[in-house]
Structures are given as C-alpha cells and as structure tokens.
C-alpha cells in the first residue's frame, strides 16, 4: 500500500510539473501582457518599468524558474486586471462556492442515480426499466449548459420558484446542482443497473435468499454493495465532468466559483490568475482521483496486495 501511494504521489508531482510548463508556455506564447495592462496613453518609460516589474525582460527559462520558485513559496502572482489582487487570494475566495456546488452535485447524483439503477435492475425488462434506461440515455445526451438555460427559463422565469442566478441560500444551489448532476445521475444509474443485474444472478444472492433473508436486505445490502465498485471506478470520469461542468454551469448561473474564475481569466488573458486556477484545478482533480484509487484498493480485496 505505502509504495503504491508513494509511486502515485511521484506521478502526480511529475504531472503537475508538466502542467505548469504547458500553462506557462501557453501563457507566454501569445500576446504581450504589458500591452494588455497599460492603456494606449502609457509612456515608453511606463512600459519599460512594468516589463521589468513583471520580469518579462529576462530570458524565458529564467522567467519559468522565478515562476516555480515563487509558486513553491505560495506566491502565484497578482491579477493583472483592475485591483491587482494576489491570484491565490482570488482562488481561496472562490473555492468554497465551487466545492459546495460539486459536493451537492455528487450527493444528488448518488442519491438519485443509485436507487434509479437498482429499481431498473430489480424490475428488469418491465416498463420501469425501460423508462429508467430512457431517462438515463436522455441525461447523457443533453448538453449541460443548455439544460441550465432551460431549467432557468422554466423554474425561474416562468414559474418563479427559484432565483435565476446568485449565491447565498439553498435556493440558489438547486438549479446549478441539478444541471451539473444530471449527466452523472444517468451514468451512475446505468452502471448500477448493469452491476445489479449481474449481482442478482450470482450465487451469494441465491444463498442469501435461501437463508430466508428479506428481499429488501438481499437487494439493498448484499447485491448493491457488490455493484458499487464500478461506480467508484467511474468517479475518475466524474471529476473530469465536474471540471468541465464547473466552467460551463458556473458561467451560466453566474456562480462565484473557480470554474467561472478560470473562464474569466482565460477570456481576459489574465495570465497569473489563469496559471493559478489551472494549477489549482489540476491539483484538486489529481487529489480526488488519488483518493478514489486508494478507496478502490481498500474496498476490493482482489486488488489489495
């Protein structure tokens, strides 16, 4: 277990280092930040001073070395737009909103997806199964950003039940979380259905039934537990969906998270913030995957060595 953990950790560091180089290179590849920062009336003196301040007069390799050195000290630069706030401060401010949204979407997906899959498997080949499969197919085919707009139109504009956008109370959370969760509800339901159908035909389920256990115990305890491993495997893909979802959904619902920060900084060519956000999201993404892999190894005795 420990060597495995160490190897994964080393791989993560290498991936992160590579990501930092790609982001840095892309950030420097196009456009001159100085031209973006100063207006057209700035003097040449101003330009030279700002170039020196940002270290843009040094060779690219030196610039990268400085970037890494500062990053390791927890300094990822300041935003080039307006108020010049430190990038990490902006991220720290936005991160809780994103985590709240992602965790809610995850809970929604699990709470709806798993029972839906179980229900479909137990009532296999009936209309319930058919409806659940169709719902799952629909959920995987709808573009998240469009769903967000449609939900907003239905529940906020037409019915007036929920606010269109904003952040604060639970009512603001409903529409973004549902938009973000629908795809994963569908994916989880499908995985659980396939797993349950296999599990319900297995010997241990037959034994549990022969022992005289109630059908509820057999289905929800014995069979379900063994159908959940594929769901855990899927979590890696889930986190990738979450990152795309965060960018799109947060933009649609004006949710003050790091997904929108990423989008805004990329669109405004705010290089320091952009680098910081992309690196932060990479770290979160890799940590989440690491946790899933460790959980998987712990839960499945066949993988544990």
């Amino acid at each position: 277990m420990v060597p495995y953990f160490l190897r994964r950790f080393a791989e993560m560091l290498i991936a992160l280092w590579l990501m930092s180089m790609i982001v840095f290179a892309l950030g420097r590849a196009t456009g001159d930040p100085v031209a973006l920062l100063l207006n057209e009336y700035a003097s040449d003196q101003d330009r030279i001073e700002l170039t020196q301040e940002l270290g843009l007069d040094k060779p690219v390799v030196t610039q990268y070395a400085i970037f890494i050195k500062q990053a390791l000290q927890g300094d990822l630069g300041v935003s080039v737009s307006g108020d010049r706030r430190p990038a990490l401060e902006l991220i720290a401010e936005r991160l809780p909103a994103s985590l709240l949204l992602a965790v809610t979407a995850l809970i929604v997906s699990i709470v709806i997806g798993i029972p839906l899959g179980v229900l479909a498997a137990v009532n296999r080949d009936t209309w319930i199964d058919g409806a659940a499969r169709l719902a799952a197919l629909l959920g995987q085919s709808v573009p998240v950003f469009w769903l967000g707009i449609v939900l907003m139109y239905l529940f906020s504009v037409t019915l007036g039940w929920l606010p269109t956008s904003g952040y604060g109370e639970w009512r603001h959370l409903v529409l973004p979380a549902v938009s973000m969760g629908l795809f994963t509800i569908a994916a989880i339901a499908r995985l659980v259905r396939v797993g349950m159908i296999e599990a319900l035909q297995s010997e241990y389920v037959k034994l549990a039934r022969i022992k005289g256990l109630s059908e509820t115990t057999v289905v929800w305890k014995h069979a379900l537990r063994n159908s959940l491993l594929p769901v855990l495997t899927y979590m890696g893909a889930f986190f990738a969906t979450m990152i795309t979802g965060a960018v799109v959904v947060e933009t649609v619902f004006a949710w003050p998270g790091i997904g929108r920060l990423a989008y805004e900084s990329i669109m405004n060519r705010d290089f320091p913030v952009m680098q910081a956000v992309v690196l932060t999201m990479t770290v979160l993404f890799m940590l989440a995957n690491l946790i899933v892999d460790i959980a998987y190894a712990r839960l499945d005795p066949r993988i544990r060595q």
């Binding site: 982001v23 950003f145 990329i266």
Partner: protein, 283 residues
C-alpha cells in the same frame, strides 16, 4: 426492415435520425431555405411559424439579426459533422497507432507511451483546450485539434489492450517465423483484428464530441461567427431566453436529438457485436 423496426422501435428511430442528420449536413446548401449568414433586419426576432406572429417563410423563426434559424441549424449540422468526423479520425488514427505499437512492441516503448496516456488522462484537458482556443483564436482547425487532444488517449488504451490479446494468437508467431517485419505484422495481422472494438469506441465517442464541440462553441472558442454552430447559437440566444425562447431552444434540441440517437445507435452496435453485455458498458 419492418420486423426490425417493430422489434426495437427506439433503435430504428435513432437510425433514421442519424441518417437524416448526416443528409442534412451534407446537403445543407440545397436544403436550407435562406442564407444562414445574411439576415433581414426587418424580420428580426420572428417567432416560429405556428406562433400568431410567425410566418412560414421562417418555419423556426429568426434570430437577433433576422437570420433564418432553420437554415442556421442545417449549416450548424455541417459544423458538427465536420468536427466529429475529423476529430475522431485524427484522434482515432494517432491514438490507435500508438496503442498498437505500445501493445505489440512492449518494453520501454510501451512504458513511455502508456505513461503519456496516463498523464493525458490525469490532466484536466478541458482547461487547456479553453486556453488553447482563446490563445490561438477560434477556428474549425483549432477546435478539431483541441478535441483530438482530449480523445486520443482512450483510443490508445483500447488499442493497446486489444493488441495484447491478439498478440497471443498463434498466427502472429507464425507470421513472425515466416519472416514478416513488425510493421507488416501490425498492419496486416493486428489492425484487422482490433478494428472492430476501435470502431465501436469511435461510435460511442460521437455523442461526446458533438457535446464537446457545442460546449466549446458556447464558451466562444468554436467555429468563429457569423458561421453557425449549435453551441454558439445557444450562447447568442441566451440573453433573449425570456423574450425569444426559440433562439435557444431549437439549437439545444438539435444537439439533444442528434446525441441521443447517436448514443442509442452506439449502444445497439455494442450489443450487436458483444452479446455478453445486454447494455453497452460505458465509462
């Protein structure tokens, strides 16, 4: 044909929808009633024809610049189809080639290729894609490159796994004993035997690619305006959702219907080729 339609109506409908999608995309210039890029400002924001203020000249209404929505949807299908075909071909070719080489050659080559694949899977590529799109400007070529960058690793994984299976067959050893070069064995003996699984994977990717293309266009890094793409049409209609819902709803429905039918078809194909899984197991 009729018996098939009765047996699985959903599959039959999906097949018809997919064929319709491809035909519309291919023949958009002849089918579209209006120029998708030129609008009549006097006819701007006209509702669909069945609405009181609608007119059959514009069956699905017009947008903010008076451009015909139906024509724009048809040309938008062209964009989706082009991106899909190109991205899947490029990613499929590069990914599969690397995967087959990794699986067949093994050793250090295998380790290096698979480490790169692991890396590609462990990074949130969508952010890089967005960055790439903004920095190098929106264009059809760039969006194809972006999507290929996201897709290739899955083809590489699948191709490697399948190659490892095929490699155990006697005919590979016999070919080697007969003096065939590694390249020749890979091309004439491995490729035909792994192609089936890779084609199924490609079918399953079509829906993902259409949604990805729409998402990127929605975020403003797709095909540049005024060329119509479904994602950018939704983005343009977003601010008018209250007063002119048709701007946003129709392109979304186009994406939904296309992706749904492609997914149903992909599942059907998986089942047909692999009777062991009644439902296509997808991640």
């Amino acid at each position: 044909m009729m018996a098939f339609a009765r047996k699985s109506p959903l599959l039959a409908i999906s097949m018809v929808l997919c064929v319709t999608f491809v035909l519309i995309a291919l023949f958009a210039p002849w089918l579209a009633p209006h120029d998708p890029m030129v609008g009549e400002l006097l006819e701007r924001l006209m509702p669909p024809a069945w609405n009181v203020d609608g007119n059959w000249r514009h069956p699905l209404g017009t947008d903010i610049l008076g451009r015909d929505i139906l024509s724009r949807l048809m040309y938008g299908a062209q964009v989706s189809l082009a991106v899909c075909a190109l991205a899947i071909l490029i990613a499929g070719f590069i990914g599969s080639s690397l995967g087959i080489i990794a699986g067949y050659v093994g050793g250090v080559v295998d380790s290096i290729i698979m480490r790169i694949v692991d890396l590609a899977i462990s990074l949130p590529i969508i952010l890089l894609a967005l960055l790439f799109g903004v920095l190098f400007g929106p264009s059809l070529g760039n969006i194809v490159i972006i999507i290929s960058l996201v897709l290739w690793s899955q083809f590489a994984r699948m191709a490697r796994g399948e190659t490892l299976k095929v490699k155990q067959n006697d005919y590979i050893d016999l070919a080697r004993a007969a003096g065939c070069s590694a390249l020749r064995i890979m091309v004439t003996h491995v490729v035909p035997n792994v192609a089936g699984s890779l084609i199924v994977l490609a079918t399953l990717q079509v829906g993902t690619v259409i949604i990805m293309e729409a998402s990127l266009s929605f975020l403003g890094v797709g095909v540049p305006p005024p060329w119509p793409a479904w994602g950018s049409m939704i983005a343009e209609g977003r601010s008018y959702v209250v007063s002119a819902w048709w701007l946003c709803i129709f392109p979304g429905l186009a994406v939904l219907l296309t992706v749904l039918s492609v997914n149903v078809l992909g599942d059907g194909l998986t089942d047909a080729l692999n009777p062991a899984t009644r439902e296509g197991r997808r991640r």
